[in-house]
């Protein structure tokens, strides 16, 4: 099966999406995942039939005025509160497995 522009959701694509998503994909998941994603993307392809033009491509759909706050220093959350939910911490810092 193919999605937009003939894209195939093959094994290489599933591997790539797993990397981008930082997810482990078990070997037995490849085939069903590929079929599901292709089916969904085929449905998404309806968007290709939607009228396109430059005017709408550049226009925000919801035109809320974002309120900008004053560019002043405010009090951040204290270190203790930031670390409250840390799975692992040490000496006021988050700890992670070694990278070297």
């Amino acid at each position: 099966m193919k999605g937009a522009d003939g894209v195939q959701i093959d094994k290489a694509m599933i591997t790539r999406l797993g990397e981008l998503s930082r997810l482990e994909i078990a070997p037995e998941e490849y085939a069903p995942l590929s079929a599901e994603l292709e089916e969904i993307l085929t449905c998404f392809d309806k968007i290709a039939g939607a009228e396109q033009d430059g005017e709408f491509a550049q226009r925000p759909a919801v035109q809320n005025q974002c309120a900008l706050r004053k560019d002043t220093v405010s009090t951040p959350l204290p270190c203790g509160a930031l670390l409250e939910n840390a799975p692992e911490k040490q000496d006021g810092m988050f700890t992670v497995p070694g990278v070297m």
Partner: protein, 494 residues
């Protein structure tokens, strides 16, 4: 009237008049939770009983002395479990957030608490809001009190099940693509997704930030208006929030449908069950009897809307959920050999199947080579749809559609067919794509006795008028007053 059948506004009024005590109302609802929540599974976690009793006593004193006089003072309610309340578990129905205890409270939740509402606990939902049946919850599905073999809808299914069955007088929930309106339709309730921006999203755990909006699951339009009057307004902690026009309950009560123009679109109605089409027609007829004028309007492009919605929502979800990596909060996998392995294993163990699928879809539509074909086209389709609605609302005041394409599905029916689940959102996603207010309200029942809901959509910032129109309808009908049969502890209905 039995306490549990009262609306939130009626209960608050009775408390003010000293006809019912806050503790009495609290105990009634707690008994109901204890009696049946092992069957309904509406709550993921509950507030400590002793703490609630103390809070109820304090509130009673404040109400009696006039310190608390809001429209919902003393009313026990629940929060969907993606709304942060300081110190209480906030899981988003996901294993990855199971250990998480927020260090702050969401602005909208804080406004309700300060106004004298009693927080009963956190309500079940689809994981991160991704689902339509609560079956993607890591804590098991909630059940529909009208038929326990069926889903209460999703993603705010726990909220709807609780309110419909007397386990809460109302709930604060979120709606990203119909997550308030669809469960309300399946459970015979009234719920609103307000105009994007009038309620602060600070403290609402993000799924798709440009669509997410907090709203209420209630028994009628007046309750919806009362909740909105408390939670709406600008918040310096949410740059997308804005000052909302005041929501006056008297204006909602006095709203007249005379001369109001209601549009019914010609698309999206094909292949709907007869019960839903008949209910749409009967609702339109009733609105006309009350003075409204019907007008056929051009197709609103439900097909494109659905594709655009899922492309943009998945893209934003992929980005928003990238933060769950086992470093700062939430779950971390055991003994990973490297940092990269820890990220991957934590996320793979912590996220459920539907969440993983949507993250991958989101990364696909954002990736090199596909961004223009999917994401960019979806944004253009969204802008075009928004322009179309602006034009339609120059001709009509509201748009009437069904909320759903069916009544509540059997549990286990939807999970195997994700596409079918996505397609069932066709009437609800346009409001999220365009930031419009939309409300669901009960309008009938199908041949099996399951509730059917209709949706009224309005122009931006027409929230008050929208609820006024539904209130006018509810003054002349009784669908919103009907409740499911009482559930027994063994799971039967009596």
């Amino acid at each position: 009237m039995e306490i549990l059948n009262m609306t939130a506004c009626a209960l608050a009024e009775a408390i003010k008049k000293k006809q019912i005590g806050v503790t009495e109302a609290l105990r009634a609802v707690q008994r109901q939770i204890n009696r049946q929540d092992n069957v309904l599974n509406a709550y993921i976690s509950q507030t400590d009983s002793e703490e609630l009793e103390k809070h109820a006593e304090k509130l009673q004193q404040q109400i009696d002395s006039g310190l608390q006089s809001g429209p919902l003072a003393g009313v026990p309610m629940g929060f969907k479990d993606n709304i942060c309340v300081r110190g209480l578990p906030t899981t988003c129905a996901s294993r990855i957030l199971e250990p998480f205890r927020p260090t702050y409270t969401a602005t909208a939740a804080q406004r309700l608490i300060v106004s004298g509402c009693l927080n009963l606990g956190k309500l079940n939902m689809d994981e991160f809001g991704m689902g339509s049946t609560t079956e993607t919850s890591a804590f098991g599905p909630a059940h529909n009190p009208w038929d326990l073999s069926r889903s209460p809808g999703g993603s705010s299914g726990g909220a709807a099940a609780a309110v419909a069955s007397g386990e809460a007088f109302f709930a604060l929930a979120s709606d990203t693509g119909g997550s308030i309106r669809q469960p309300c339709a399946f459970c015979g309730l009234t719920g609103i997704k307000p105009t994007y921006g009038i309620v602060s999203r600070f403290g609402l755990i993000a799924y798709a930030s440009s669509f997410d909006q907090l709203g209420s699951v209630t028994k009628d339009a007046l309750d919806c208006a009362a909740v909105l009057s408390l939670i709406a307004g600008k918040d310096s902690k949410d740059a997308t929030s804005m000052a909302a026009p005041p929501i006056g309950l008297n204006e909602v009560k006095s709203f007249s449908l005379k001369g109001i123009k209601i549009g019914i679109p010609s698309d999206g109605l094909e292949a709907l069950p007869d019960d839903i089409i008949n209910t749409l027609n009967e609702t339109a007829k009733k609105l006309c009897e009350l003075g409204a004028k019907l007008k056929k309007i051009p197709p609103i492009g439900t097909d494109y809307a659905l594709s655009a919605y899922y492309i943009i929502a998945c893209a934003q979800a992929a980005s928003n959920l990238a933060r769950y990596d086992g470093v700062r909060y939430g779950k971390r996998c055991a003994e990973a050999e490297s940092l990269e392995a820890m990220y991957r294993r934590t996320r793979s163990e912590g996220f459920g199947k539907e969440v993983r699928r949507r993250i991958m879809l989101g990364n696909f539509v954002l990736s090199q080579g596909y961004y223009d074909a999917y994401y960019k086209k979806a944004l253009a389709a969204q802008a075009r749809l928004s322009a179309k609605f602006t034009s339609v609302f120059n001709d009509v005041d509201f748009i009437l559609t069904p909320v759903t394409t069916s009544t509540a599905p059997l549990l286990g029916e939807s999970l195997q067919e994700p596409l079918k689940m996505y397609e069932s959102d066709r009437f609800t996603v346009p409001a999220n794509l365009c930031g419009l207010p939309a409300a669901a309200f009960p309008c009938g029942f199908d041949s099996s006795g399951l509730p059917i809901g209709m949706q009224l959509m309005g122009a931006r910032l027409s929230d008050l008028r929208l609820l006024g129109a539904i209130h006018a309808f509810q003054c002349e009908t009784d669908f919103h007053t009907r409740r499911p049969a009482r559930i027994t502890a063994k799971g039967g209905e009596s």
